[in-house]
Symmetry: C2
């Protein structure tokens, strides 16, 4: 929409007035908190509640401000500071105000008692003149230093329980990441993504851990170390700062419509390495109390940690997938789709229960939620009514947006409100170097190795961008704030905070110039990718080799058994399962499956295996631009024509297509239409319209977020 | 959608399997909790977190089960048990399992210390061998009775902090009630609604309070009273059980499309009396500690309470309206509508901040949120982009649904999991009688008085239904669980729980039979109400007298100044404000206002004043059923034709219409088209298509939930 200059001026004025008003409200509501000092418990509880409300209000106002400023930035097309960076700046400002502007002394009602207990129980029953009061453990308080700051009630109150991040804020972000994954591009680059995410993160953790160990040894030598810092602490630090953030950079990538492969690599890596980092850090934590915390490297403990890592990761993965599958089954076999509200609620609850179930089983909820999101997007999404598809998308989009901005503004706030910062210049410099080296040791060697196997090489410009754009964000912060009890952890936390600030502001802000400097393609419509490239005839890239045999086997299994079982699409199970399972197959196949069998099958085939192949073969067939009604008719025709084939034949056909395609790969030939792909199989000729590769037609299996994630924002 | 018998059977089988599976998971995850008893603090915190997850999981599973069963009920058109009743039953079942099936003894790590402190501070610093641990006060523990039950860690853990209800679960419910209010029918019956909600609730509170006081005196006489129970306690009880619940009955009303006036009366009353009850109970609470808690009636304290009531109520109302107005201004003057996600997030945050702001200012957040919701629906909703309108509707619908069902299943759970129940048969019988009498004293005398003034009498069948369908629900529960410290409060809580169960199951379930027994009209389309009635020509009811002069003045003020100021509609402020305010008016009027001035104005006019009048006059003009594009063209024409009139003239016209209409009220005449309403005003003839009364066309000012609330569910 066109913007008139005076309306922009008016808008910025409005914003300013709102800003001042918010600041006023903020300070006003804090000032009132000082007023009371009543002894009655009820009154005190009321006061505490009031203060809690005021504190939460601060964050709501921060978010509101952030939203308005984001709007202004978008309005003016100002791109160098992303909303997350902005949220951090506002958080910083409020942190400064709270720290230096308002001083609310702590109510002097915490009595220090010296009792003869030698444990710190989780609950404490205190007998006060005959009445019992229950107290719950909040944590250890460091009384050694900074007791003057510790007294500030406001600062203390504004600090959230770190568990809030893990239990409330991270799950929607991670779920949304899984749910909005562009599966087509993701699967095309799956091998490379897995390599970066698993091997890369482990390499990065160890490199950072080793560099930090050197740094800590140096610090100890020059007497700069104020407490214990063990080798496992170094590794832990390596694990938490190895998690790159999928938020900031990818929002920019999305806006600029950057090259889809680069996007898929970055997104896949940063989503999965969050999961890897969280499990890695917890398995290092699990290894720590058992070992002797010595400075030496222990191989058996290392293997044990690795076992824990594998167990927890695969367990969480299985759990997430299981809940996703269960949701798919429930949505398939009930007629919930008649009631979108119920359906959305069920979807939301089942996805949330994944997280809780994993946590209750001592798995990692965040990892479970990620894979649950991917399963939901792959199966359940197709069972939902169109209304629910919209609702769930929008709901998780909103939750993700709010949680993200909350975390980033809280980060900004923490720099001043957190009361046990340990800023050690040597450690900080060492950490920055270590993070740089760790990222480099992840990207460059792995890219070199991957390029040996990839036909579609990861260019050096891609590598530089991946190196540069490895921001640290929400996950790193959440992992580092989870435990700030010891000196080592406090120093890690403070340093991590600085790393996050630096990467979000400097690397995040510099991504756009970096992209143009590295001459990366922008303005690519990810969904029209293949056809666009084919039509200009010059840039056709072969990524087919990524669809190697393990993936092809998986794809066929998924398409023949899982999708028919879990969704309404695909060939009916009655056709694919052996005859002995007849009654079961009939019971599990929905009526829709019989109707749209061929259609779904063909539509879906482009997703993984036949992707580029078909584009090459039918590249000169133009997509018919009739009204949607006509398209459906074509589909009906298509499904009718392929109805007679058994799934084995279809499988053969596909594998044949694949083989055929591999043969002609190097020549980049556009096959003439009268050349049937595999003459021995008696198939109807491939339909001329619509061609199977065209994404706009694959509605039932299109990505839930097929339009770029942030585009509508 | 037609249902095949075998698919229903399959569905119910699936449900059963899921049910068993959930039960298994539930019990399984609890069983594991017993395993560990580690002394390390970290391990214990982990364990506590695991248990919290498991507890929350129980509720998620309960909700999931409820959703699936609701679906089954809706599927089978089973109407006698509403979802809320169902949620309660599931809650009860889980409560029984937790109470009698699983016994998790409390970890024996809470040490009872006898220290020389004579206060119970909010925070406690405990010095354990040189290290300081911080503890926070959780509340007083009654150690006198039921210590064996108290030991059950699971039951204790499953009990939420009552503040959760007030701060997390109630606000979305109340906001949704305000946001989905059918304003047209609400305003038509505003006088009666206010009478029932304010006077009625106060009357009911006092009647119940007095009856209970008699009951308590009797109990004391026969030695059945186990503790103190003061007169203020009786009044408090009266206040909390006077809040009727808008959820259950209105869902049934909506499904059956019951008479719109009855619907409006019930909905308006139950929404507003929640607000009245919460303020009433808190002002009684405020009066309590100041007074002497004697058994006598104190007039000055009473007046003081009344003052507190008025102050808090009006303050909260003003605050809610203020935030709503601010949101309207922000959405009007920014171009946020280009970014639906930002817009939705802003809307959500601003609405939530109302609650927090009110709580931080010692007002009542729930009341503020109610009026904020009404303001948002009236003004802000019209500034939102269509996408955001959908999103906000769906978001609050979902939040409301989840919160409602959570509260009701928690209610069921509480009957067995709450550990300080006091069931006193005499008190319970007295309470049931008192609630019955209180409701009767609210409905019948007030209806009699209102009927003296109303032309459209509230029939005795309406009165009986209102009497019968006065369910007690979420608000009553939340108010009674808020404080269960004393004997009196515990007895109140247990009794309230029974009253809620009884009314939801018996009265809620009996509503459908009651409606048919009382021969209340069902199947009325609320939005087409007037036109439908006119077209059948027999049942036209005159409710115009409700639009008495105070409302007409308000309407005109709203339409001339507020709507133009806060939204893009209405006559431009440049036309309505005096000339001296010219520059300000130009600054505040959006460009859209000039464009669609006449259109909006006419569209909107049916909302309050010209409602029945126009229906009478143009009742025989059929609505054109062209495509939406044609409709828009008609609108353009309409707005162009009325563009020339100043708003004063339009005002005159409307008042004239009103007068005229009042004159013909008694005769129920359908005015012929060639009779101009007020010949002296030189107006273009009223456009023939579309007629202004038809709701489907009044998009910009239609109710956000113009389709019945639960219909799509």
């Amino acid at each position: 929409m066109g913007l008139k200059p005076n309306s922009a001026l008016k808008a910025s004025k409005t914003l300013f007035v709102l800003l001042s008003l918010f600041t006023f409200l903020l300070v006003g509501s804090q000032g009132e908190n000082t007023a009371m000092d009543n002894v009655a418990t009820e009154r005190r509880a009321e006061e505490s509640h009031r203060q809690d409300s005021a504190n939460l209000l601060i964050f709501i106002m921060l978010l509101t401000l952030t939203i308005l400023t984001i709007w202004l930035f978008k309005h003016r097309r100002f791109r160098f500071l992303h909303e997350t960076g902005l949220a951090m700046i506002y958080g910083l400002l409020v942190g400064v105000i709270l720290r230096f502007g308002v001083h609310v002394p702590r109510n002097m009602n915490n009595v220090t008692m010296n009792c003869s207990v030698n444990a710190s129980p989780a609950t404490l029953l205190v007998n006060v003149s005959g009445r019992f009061y229950e107290y719950t453990l909040k944590g250890e308080v460091s009384t050694v230093k900074g007791h003057d700051v510790q007294d500030d009630e406001m600062l203390r109150k504004v600090t959230f329980d770190p568990e809030v991040f893990f239990n409330i804020l991270l799950p929607p972000i991670i779920f949304h990441a899984g749910y909005s994954l562009k599966r087509r591009h993701f699967f095309r680059n799956l091998g490379s993504i897995l390599a970066y995410a698993f091997m890369g993160t482990v390499i990065s953790s160890f490199v950072i851990g080793l560099v930090m160990y050197g740094c800590v040894t140096l610090m100890k030598a020059v007497g700069q170390l104020g407490g214990d810092f063990f080798f496992t602490d170094c590794l832990f630090f390596g694990a938490i700062v190895s998690a790159t953030d999928p938020v900031t950079v990818l929002a920019i990538f999305n806006e600029l419509k950057v090259d889809v492969d680069l996007y898929a690599l970055m997104f896949g890596e940063s989503v999965l390495n969050d999961a890897v980092a969280i499990v890695l850090s917890s398995s290092i934590g699990a290894y720590q109390p058992a070992g002797d915390n010595s400075h030496t490297f222990d191989a058996t403990a290392m293997i044990k940690s690795f076992g824990v890592f594998l167990g927890v990761f695969s367990g969480s993965l299985a759990l997430g997938v299981a809940t996703g599958v269960m949701t798919a089954l429930v949505t398939k076999f009930t007629k919930l789709r008649d009631f979108p509200l119920l359906e959305t609620a069920l979807f939301f609850l089942m996805s949330w229960s994944t997280f809780l179930l994993a946590e209750a089983c001592e798995m990692t909820g965040v990892v479970a939620v990620l894979f649950c999101g991917m399963t939901q997007a792959h199966y359940t999404f197709n069972n939902l009514s169109p209304d629910s598809q919209d609702r769930t998308k929008q709901l998780f989009e909103l939750l993700n947006f709010l949680a993200e901005n909350f975390i980033f503004s809280y980060m900004g706030l923490t720099l001043f409100s957190f009361q046990s910062h340990v800023f050690n210049p040597l450690f900080i410099i060492g950490a920055f170097i270590a993070v740089f080296l760790g990222r480099a040791a992840n990207i460059y060697p792995l890219s070199f190795l991957l390029n040996l196997g990839r036909k579609n090489k990861i260019g050096s410009n891609f590598q530089h961008v991946m190196m540069f754009a490895g921001l640290r964000g929400a996950m790193t912060f959440a992992l580092s704030i989870r435990d700030t009890a010891t000196y080592a952890r406090q120093m890690m936390f403070s340093t991590t905070l600085l790393i996050v600030f630096f990467t979000v502001w400097v690397c995040g802000g510099g991504t756009t110039p970096m992209l143009s400097f590295m001459s990366i393609r922008v303005g690519v419509d990810s969904d029209q990718d293949s056809s666009v490239i084919v039509s200009d005839g010059t840039q056709h890239r072969n990524t087919k080799h990524e669809s190697a045999w393990p993936f092809r086997i998986w794809y066929n299994f998924d398409n023949t058994y899982l999708k028919p079982l879990l969704t309404h699409s695909g060939p009916p199970l009655t056709a694919t399962l052996p005859a002995c399972c007849g009654p079961l197959a009939r019971c599990l196949t929905s009526t829709q499956a019989y109707e749209n069998e061929g259609h779904q099958h063909n539509d879906d085939s482009d997703e993984l295996v036949l992707n580029d192949g078909n584009a090459t073969m039918y590249g000169d067939v133009t997509v018919s631009t009739d009204a949607s009604g006509t398209r459906t008719t074509n589909h009906k025709h298509l499904s009718a024509s392929t109805m007679g084939i058994t799934s084995e034949e279809a499988l053969d056909q596909e594998l044949a297509f694949g083989e055929h395609e591999l043969v002609i790969r190097g020549t980049r030939l556009v096959l003439p239409m009268d050349d049937p792909p595999e003459p021995t199989v008696t198939l109807p000729p491939p339909p001329t319209s619509p061609p199977p590769f065209s994404d706009p037609f694959s509605d039932p299996f299109s990505d839930p977020f097929s339009d770029p994630r942030r585009n509508k924002l």
